[in-house]
Amino acid sequence: MSDVNTIIAAPGATTTALLAAHDVMKFFGDDRRPVLEHVSLELNEGEFVALLGPSGSGKSTLLRILAGLMEPSGGEVLVHGSPLEGPNPNVAIVFQSFALFPWLDVLQNVELGLLAMDVSDDERQRRASKAIDLIGLDGFEEAFPKELSGGMKQRVGFARALVVQPEVLFMDEPFSALDVLTAENLRAELQDLWLNKTMPTKAVVMVTHNIDEAVSLADRILVFGANPGHIRVELKGLPSAERSEKSAARSRLVELIYRVMTNPEEDALAIVEQSLQGRTRPLAARGAGRAAATRARRYQVLPDVSIDDLTGLVQYIGGIGGHAEVQDLSRDLQMRADDLLAIVEATDLLGFGALQERQVVLTPIGTRFADSELDEEKAIFRAQALDHIALLHHIVRDLETTPTHTLDAERVIDELEHSFSGEEARRQFETAVDWGRYAELFTYDDSSGELTLDEEHRMRRS
């Protein structure tokens, strides 16, 4: 079918890069835990680049290094070819939490960016008013941040960033603190400003964990992997005509990125190639390629999905005939595609459903699960969990074999840390506990950190 090069972005070897990172490394803490390893990238004029990845993949850290807010532990950052030291004077940042000064009103907040510049009071005010105008905040000049809604606050954040006419605009998860509609609206406005060149900014870098967001906005998407953070693959964004919700190219790209992100152990390039050849496999593949990865890891990656969401989705799909398009689900359930796909992956892991050609299809067991009453539902879940989830299987086996039928949480987490980073190990454990408690396999006392085999489960076994 198509050539890999239509999707993979070629690393451009230009000398005129606005901003470049060469082999940047970052370690944190006394144990010099690596959070970024060998990251290189270049940012050229006219580009909108998205840094996409799971939490803990160091993308926000990279943004801060590029902004000069943090020093890299290794490698260097070049601004127009010369090394950066201290805060990068050519960038402005839009923050996830807006980072407005609560005691300054909107106008003063916007003027803040100009304080350090040598402009007269009048000029400062004129420019701030213009930025406020541009971003649709007219009439709010004297309002204080606490009087504003989230969307309005982020508009102030944008105005404050744009008023300094930065060469490069940085955005750190700019829409993730907003509700869906507000985010969508603001995103569209930003896109207009960018595409119509209404803002003088030459390039934009956006950090996000939202695949939809990246695909909607970016010309280039850098997918990050974790432990330690690194760039797994660089993908070309869609031409602006194909970015609309309905486009097939868009759905393909979203799905491809999801596939890459949900298979953190596999070679991203191989996934892209497979996808191009139309060889779509079930998401959490248990095939040959997967086996190699699992052997090293021992445990599957449990997606961070709550029981409520999981059972809710299976029952919903069961209620509408046992299959549904991901896109329709996303629309009807008002969920972001990546959140939804995480739940779908969990149903797949448990054998309740599978993703086939952008459709979620329930298995017979999944259908039975969807139709059951609470007790039977739990029994099915228990059986499936013990069969398919290695971590739960191991925990229960250990609980059954110890004479006290108890287990120290730290021990489980320690063991998980062979396969996952500290933070991720804890998250895996928490997900397992959530599922195991629901399945009535064991109980867990958070204050003592002790897992105890469920009485009834023990009786069932003996």
């Binding site: 902004a67 805060p87 940042i93 939490s97 807006f98 980072a99 009103d105 304080l115 350090a116 009071d121």
Partner: protein, 586 residues
């Protein structure tokens, strides 16, 4: 009146006030009142200055005439104000430096912790003797000594609070300040000071309460055979107690209460109302109101003063200091780095040398202590420990039920709150003498009385916290308890106690520190010309200070500081951590 915290606001639209003018049109009386206040303060300072230049005489008589009371009250307030301004400046600087560098923080925080647990009287002999030597023959030295003593009762919690604020500034706000290159001055005035303002003001009120508590101790002290006195409300009260003059005592306490209430109404309340703008989030509760503040906001005089003096001054400062310390991109300067390293290592070496010298000197001084001395210190510590524990238990026993009753009943709270506040604002030391009259007659004498005095000094911390905790119990939870008919002890166990636990721990921490500190004024008292004392670490320290027995003073102080720090670290902080994780209501 000096406003301690004036964050520079960005000058907005061509010098016009950024808030729309408040409704009531300028009442003339506000301007007149302000003129009076300015005149009175100016006159007071002149009189005080004359007092300070006066030659030193070791046995100043404080007149018990009621006519002099306003004058004494003015002198005491002035001392407190100077000490407070110094405390504020010190705290903000200290906290800023500590928060600025990891290395400095590691050193400065524990130091602050120790300073906080050193009782005020332990500083006394050194400070007084040193300053008396610096200003021979003049009262100025003593005045400065008194101010420093008050300072030691005001500064530490301010420093802790501001440091805490600096640490809790959201990371992204700091980053925004860096990205927009605010520089040191602008970052300080636009971000750090406003962010810390609310907690700084709350702690300032506590600091003032602490200052009043040690008013008597700071205005009159005995060193060896010398009895130093400074004219002021504290020494008036002390003299009245000495003379057994109940009439003067009551008058003095009444004046003190009046001053405290006036300061609260005219200064703290407007300040608290004004500082509401620094709240980061819209809270559900009502914004604090102050009619005086509304009036001041409408004042034409203040407005023109602010437009002609304050704002241009702020703007000039902003321009002059604005770019200072901002991180401009610049080529690497190796020599600077070298110099910085030399400075850093040099100061480190100096500090280490100082610490070693201090330790050696301490050990040397303590080497002369006999086994008997140590036994005395040990027994005293045990006695005071017992007393503080009893005081704490008693305080908890009455404040928990009363505080919960007040806190859970909004109508009661409305009536009781101001009353409790005024009662609590009366420094316990001022009423000690009156109480002693009654208590010394009881069997057990000062031994029992000291517990009562500690209780008097520290119960309020608990009460306020319990009330706050009870008020914060979500109404829904109370409804749930009611609908499942959870009443009586069960209700306490499942709802009330867990809900107020974090507040209770906070109150206990303050109360423990307070009662140890109070021991030095409650275990050793002078009343009607007679010295009364009982065994205890406080009495030991007070007597050692009076006799200038530095060895015993040092030993007593170290032991007390050690005990207070240890109970904080081993007991309260752990409970506090538990409260933070397990019993949070959110």
């Amino acid at each position: 009146m000096a406003q301690p915290i004036i964050p520079v606001r960005a000058p907005s639209s061509s010098g016009e006030p950024s808030e729309p003018p408040r409704m009531p049109p300028t009442p003339r009386w506000v301007d007149a009142l302000m003129l009076c206040v300015v005149a009175a303060v100016a006159y007071g300072i002149m009189r005080a200055a004359a007092e300070w230049r006066a030659p030193l005489s070791p046995n100043v008589r404080v007149s018990l005439s009621a006519r002099l009371l306003p004058y004494y009250a003015g002198l005491s307030t002035l001392r407190m104000t100077i000490a407070y301004v110094l405390s504020l400046a010190f705290s903000v600087t200290y906290a800023r430096i500590a928060a600025g560098s990891r290395a400095a923080e590691r050193l400065m925080l524990p130091l602050l912790d120790i300073l906080q647990s050193v009782p005020i009287l332990s500083f006394m002999p050194g400070v007084v003797l040193g300053l008396a030597a610096l200003f021979p023959g003049r009262t100025l030295g003593l005045e400065i000594a008194a101010i420093i003593l008050i300072f030691t009762s005001q500064a530490w919690n301010l420093a802790f609070s501001f440091h805490q604020s600096l640490l809790t500034i959201p990371r992204e706000l700091n980053e925004a300040a860096a990205v927009y290159r605010l520089g040191f001055w602008r970052r300080f005035t636009r971000l750090e000071l406003p962010f810390g303002a609310i907690s700084l003001i709350a702690n300032s009120m506590m600091s003032w309460a602490g200052g009043w508590f040690f008013l008597m101790a700071s205005e009159q002290f005995t060193l060896g055979s010398n009895n130093f006195r400074l004219p002021g409300l504290g020494s008036y009260l002390a003299s009245a107690a000495d003379a057994g003059d109940t009439h003067a005592l009551v008058l003095g306490v009444a004046t003190l209460v009046f001053v405290i209430v006036m300061l609260d109404q005219l200064f703290w309340r407007p300040l608290v109302a004004w500082s509401d703008r620094f709240k980061s989030e819209q809270s559900g509760g009502e914004a604090p109101q102050s009619r005086l503040l509304d009036a001041l906001r409408g004042s034409a005089m203040l407005e023109s003063l602010s437009a002609r003096v304050a704002r241009p001054l702020a703007r000039t400062l902003d321009r002059k200091l604005g770019s200072a310390g901002s991180f401009e991109p610049r080529p690497r300067a190796h020599r600077n780095e070298l110099r910085a390293r030399v400075v850093r290592w040099g100061s480190m070496a100096l500090l280490v040398a100082l610490a070693i010298w201090g330790t050696v000197a301490t050990v040397g001084a303590l080497a002369g202590m006999t086994g008997g001395d140590w036994r005395l210190v040990g027994m005293s510590a045990a006695a005071t420990f017992l007393r503080t524990t009893i005081a704490l238990v008693l305080a908890a026993a009455w404040t928990i039920p009363v505080g919960v009753a007040i806190g859970m009943n909004p109508r009661w709270a409305r009536h009781a709150q101001p009353l409790v506040q005024i009662t609590a604002s009366v420094p316990a030391t001022a009423v000690f003498p009156v109480l002693l009259l009654a208590l010394l007659a009881l069997p057990g004498g000062l031994n029992i009385a000291a517990v009562a005095l500690m209780l008097l000094g520290t119960q309020w911390y608990l009460l306020f916290n319990v009330i706050a905790g009870a008020t914060a119990i979500p109404y829904d939870l109370r409804l749930v308890a009611a609908s499942y008919r959870i009443t009586g002890w069960r209700r306490w166990k499942t709802l009330i106690l867990p809900a107020i636990f974090p507040y209770l721990v906070t109150g206990m921490i303050t109360a423990t520190g307070g009662s140890w500190n109070a021991s030095i004024v409650s275990e050793y008292v002078t009343f009607a010309g007679r010295k009364q004392s009982t065994i205890g670490l406080g009495a030991l320290i007070a007597q050692a200070a009076e006799r200038s027995d530095f060895r015993l003073l040092l030993a007593g102080t170290l032991v007390m500081a050690g005990i207070v720090s240890a109970t904080n670290r081993l007991g309260w902080r752990r409970l506090y951590a538990l409260a933070e994780t397990r019993y949070r209501l959110d």
